[in-house]
Symmetry: C3
Subunit: 299 residues, 3 copies
């Protein structure tokens, strides 16, 4: 704490008595990654902070940020801060879009998720190709509200240095089924998404269909629609996961479509350690399969 | 811990058994900011570490650093490290100058402090325009000593890559009044500051006068003198704050003077959450008022 | 935590319930540094995280990273992650080479270690000039195994963007003596190291001899061999340390050899605080001695 004599000072109070809680956790992974040409070592270790508190009136608030992107947290472009109550939950920072908030992504495979960019918008991973908020360069806002089986979400970014974007989504759960609808607008393009989840015993299936308008990838390819399905099945300590996704490009594009898939398995060692391996590929000419095998840790 | 067999090794001991304490806290804020043209979202989340220990002989020592500027902490340009005892307190790192250490700044308004640079040295915020140590690019030193109602402070930076700078300050408290005197030298310019605080019940008033010599801002304007006053009043859960500051420029400058002010209110929600809003403006031609409204959190 | 409705999502789980432990520690230092020309202030403050867990089957795992290099931790180029069991210990990340893992470095002097680069590979510090893994730009792997008095280690980096490198080492302890042998290959050069430690009461002596082939420093000097000795002696709260190292360059080099040394003392104040000072120099023409005096803290 900076020593300050006078009582009216407004110096930043970063190191004062904690009025609420900070939980410290971490994750790590180590293994080998086949990038389509060679097997390479790949590892990482990260620390995360989860902040939480409650007002006298019973509103919950909090935030989260990792050590490695904490500079972004101070700029509003990483992590998030939120407040919630009977009105729902308002989050700001590097939040996901409303559809992603409700539908998430398909089940990722491998200990790294088999990320490998082949162009700036299409990667061979389990991410659903949502339109907005994927690479936020400013603080965005996400609102979510749950009322029993019904959930709604709205997200937006302002027009600071870019077009304003927004997204809305809703989901409804009945028995073992959940269905959802989302819509996104990035100022130029729009995209509607239909998503559904079904759970049968230890197996969960998620599928989506996305219909885009005026959405052009950085490669110049114009997306007409995208769809995909993912499955996750638990057999004791083993979880088997897989997904297939396809983008159909608009008539006249250099290629008609791109299909990519991933399949993998996790084996839970207990205590926060999991052995995980996966393979992913697409049907793009000259793109070779990628694969990984390693251990993931949660601390 | 790196595995090392031999006992005389000098590898860095970063992850050993803690011989003293590390407290983890955090802060966050979310809201909307009017930058003079548009309302925009603005949020951030930060984590801070406060380190403390005591030698066998009873000297206290410690340090503080945030996650987001921790790289600066390792370089000596962010955070600080200190030791204190009957001799006073010696701090090194990104410390403030001696006058700022004793007098602080005027009460900031809004949930962001309404920062908006209009030139590199004058912003419409509650910071008193001290001469030295504001943007330290190297480790600086601050010494403070308290003896009952009397406090003194001295600060300095060495001449590595810049002129050596120093500052001295003293303050005296009698009843509800505190007065202080400071002097700073950045190698080119000097500045003397007179500051006073008066506390009446729940209201606190702080005022300063600064007299500069040879101080030229990056805009080419030469500062003759600066003065300001700030007020903070507590009414139950509400704190109302405001300040006015003015710089008189030397004869022949492009403008005669610059006046800026801010006014705002905080409402304490308890548990570390505060609703805060403020507005700030100056009389510079073409500069529009800035304002913000949001929630601040302490974790 | 991001709010996600559907169960099969694969969003990153960074802020979930900790399945294992994260210990937070820190270090700091403050003092003055003589860089051969001027005395300057020098300070720093750092926070470190040590992660640990255990699988249900009894394998230990963990990792370590500091806040200030946490971005490197997420990229695999700083910190490390490890798993260990009866098979030994496997680490990945910014690990040291196998010889350094077993032999460490000579005892560093001063509160800063008297680092001062005089060229990119030779500094006046206590580091033994190992060949590989000193400035890792990718995740490397280190394997260590202990069986009573016998230890072995192997390290390697893959050929991503550079030549593959590897190192092997072994050490044996008998009574107060330990001897070790290491070998490193960076794809171009190789280096063999012989190291020994002897402990007599409160004094510990470490010596090494390194024989290089085709090893050229960035200055163009070709290393023929290097050798050095370090001593650390404890007298109550005081530890006196010193080292001498010499590199003999190959015939025809611009200079025949370079010798450098350091000597210093630490005084333990208890509670994690240590006063430390040191001086280091070399026989390179025009290089002046460097020295420091300050306080080191462990939190």
């Amino acid at each position: 704490m900076k020593k300050v004599l006078f009582a009216t000072t407004a110096l930043v109070l970063t190191a004062g008595v904690a009025a609420a809680d900070v939980a410290v956790s971490g994750d790590g992974r180590m293994g080998v990654l086949y990038d389509g040409a060679d097997w390479n070592f790949s590892s990482r270790v990260r620390v995360a902070f989860s902040l939480s508190g409650q007002t006298d009136g019973g509103l919950d608030f909090g935030g989260s940020i990792r050590a490695d992107n904490s500079a972004g947290g101070a700029a509003g472009t990483a992590g998030e801060v939120w407040i919630s109550g009977a009105f729902g939950k308002i989050e700001m920072g590097n939040v996901v879009s409303a559809p992603e908030a409700l539908f998430g992504d398909l089940p990722g495979v491998g200990y790294t998720g088999n990320d490998m960019d082949i162009n700036s918008n299409v990667t061979v991973n389990a991410d659903i190709p949502y339109l907005t908020l994927d690479n936020s360069t400013q603080s965005a806002m996400l609102y979510t509200y749950n009322a029993g089986a019904f959930s709604v979400a709205a997200s937006m970014t302002d027009d600071t240095g870019q077009d304003a974007t927004y997204g809305v989504a809703a989901a409804y759960t009945f028995g073992n089924y959940t269905v959802g609808l989302g819509y996104e607008d990035d100022g130029t393009a729009t995209q509607a998404e239909l998503a559904g989840v079904a759970t049968f015993g230890n197996t969960s299936v998620k599928a989506y269909y996305a219909d885009a308008s005026d959405r052009t990838l950085d490669t110049g390819l114009e997306v007409d629609s995208a769809y995909g399905i993912g499955v996750s099945s638990v057999f004791g300590a083993t979880t088997v996961k897989g997904y297939v996704q396809k983008i159909d490009f608009s008539a006249g594009s250099a290629i008609d479509s791109l299909t990519w898939y991933g399949i993998g398995a996790d084996y839970d060692l207990g205590g926060g350690a999991t052995i995980a391996g996966g393979i992913a590929d697409n049907d793009f000419d000259g793109f070779d399969p990628v694969a990984d095998l390693g251990i993931k840790f949660k601390f």
